[in-house]
């Protein structure tokens, strides 16, 4: 390989990867609504398609902030009182992924079921 071919391939690879990332960011995906009411999640079980990115819209209908936290899904986000936030999850392998409301762990619990 000449001196210029190696960096050229790296640059081309970077451009292609960047394009894939960008197109991934704008692809349409299913949206699901998750409500926080009285320090509980509604619904408690969320069914999502496996192997696909999913957009969770979390609406906090309580008067205090909550933190959506899931180690299984690797997500952590504060939802202000009365606020609506979007959390992208997946693509997920089939299985159960639990999540909690960190500020009210005793009652705010739920699970995402990917199938």
């Amino acid at each position: 390989m000449t001196r210029f071919q190696s960096p050229l391939f790296s640059f081309a690879g970077a451009v292609i990867s960047a394009s894939l990332l960008v197109t991934g960011a704008y692809a349409a995906e299913p949206e699901l609504l998750l409500v926080i009411k009285n320090h509980r999640f509604e619904p408690v079980e969320l069914k999502v398609p496996a192997g696909q990115r999913v957009k969770l819209i979390v609406h906090n209908q309580d008067s205090t902030a909550e933190e959506f936290e899931s180690h299984d899904l690797n997500r952590e986000k504060i939802v202000p009182a009365g606020g609506k936030v979007s959390i992208f999850i997946g693509p997920l392998r089939p299985g159960r992924y639990s999540f909690t409301g960190e500020y009210n762990e005793a009652t705010a619990k739920g699970v995402v079921i990917a199938e």
Partner: protein
């Protein structure tokens, strides 16, 4: 009150560890106490502002505004830490070596590195905003006195751990101090890179490598005391995604290789300087 204390303790711990390590890394530098205090105060003020604007920020950008702000903060912190590791810390060691080569004594009189102070402010800002939101919510719910007492206890305990880390690091002899604190800052930078990966995935900006690769929760849970500490210090995750691992490794590589490159360039320059000095004598 106890629940409040635990949650506030966890948030405070991350910031306290940062401040403790930065304090140790800047030991002996002029004006460092003022800079650290300024960083913590600025971070606290920013945290209140961020918490106050939380509702507005969250609604931005189709509901991912918070992640974008978070990612922005992390990028700046990462840039500051990288700059410090690669450039500033080498300058410190370089100045000492230069002084020795020229036969003069080396005094640690340099000004405190502002890059680290910015990182301190950012760290306090992030954890502080979460804490303020949480405490504000709880205070209206279950009564202000108990909540504030719990929050105070949490901040106290978190800060105590930070102070212990600082005191422990202070006992390291000055010759080894650079190496020890540089390693700790390197690991902090890598863990920030990993958190950046998660923020970008969460905001839907990157959709590849999002699957957790393994689960070490049976060995060490992230919300256990040791796990919390490991998470704050080296960015431990029980279920890291491929993207997080990639960002973590990339940060380590960039800083280590960049640091070596700068050091080698300075060593070459040092040889020239010494030769000139000897030739002139």
């Amino acid at each position: 009150m106890f629940a409040t204390a635990i949650i506030v303790f966890r948030e405070t711990l991350e910031a306290a560890l940062f401040v403790g390590i930065m304090a140790a890394a800047t030991r002996g530098l002029v004006g460092r106490g003022r800079w650290l205090t300024a960083g913590v105060l600025a971070g606290s003020a920013g945290a209140l502002a961020l918490a106050a604007g939380a509702e507005h920020i969250s609604a931005l950008a189709n509901g991912v505004g918070q992640d974008l702000v978070n990612a922005g903060i992390l990028v700046v912190a990462l840039a500051m830490l990288t700059w410090h590791c690669v450039w500033v810390s080498n300058q410190g060691a370089q100045a000492a070596a230069d002084a020795r080569a020229l036969g003069s004594s080396f005094k640690q009189g340099q000004r405190a590195p502002w890059a680290l102070m910015i990182v301190v402010a950012l760290s306090v800002l992030r954890e502080g905003a979460e804490t303020v939101l949480f405490v504000a919510g709880f205070a209206t719910g279950s009564g202000p006195t108990g909540t504030l007492a719990g929050a105070f206890a949490g901040v106290l305990c978190g800060s105590a751990i930070g102070a212990i880390i600082y005191l422990g690091l202070s006992r390291v002899p000055v010759q080894r101090m650079f190496a020890v604190t540089n390693t700790l800052i390197l690991l902090l930078a890598a863990s920030i890179a990993s958190q950046l990966a998660r923020a970008l995935s969460q905001a839907g900006l990157i959709s590849v490598w999002g699957q957790p690769l393994w689960d070490t929760s049976p060995l060490l849970r992230v919300d256990s005391p040791v796990g919390t500490f490991a998470h704050a210090l080296v960015g431990y995750e029980a279920q890291p995604t491929g993207l997080q691992l990639a960002f973590y490794a990339l940060a380590l590589l960039v800083i280590v290789i960049g640091s070596r490159w700068v050091r080698a360039a300075q060593a070459r320059r040092r040889t020239v300087v010494t030769a000139r000095v000897l030739a002139g004598a």
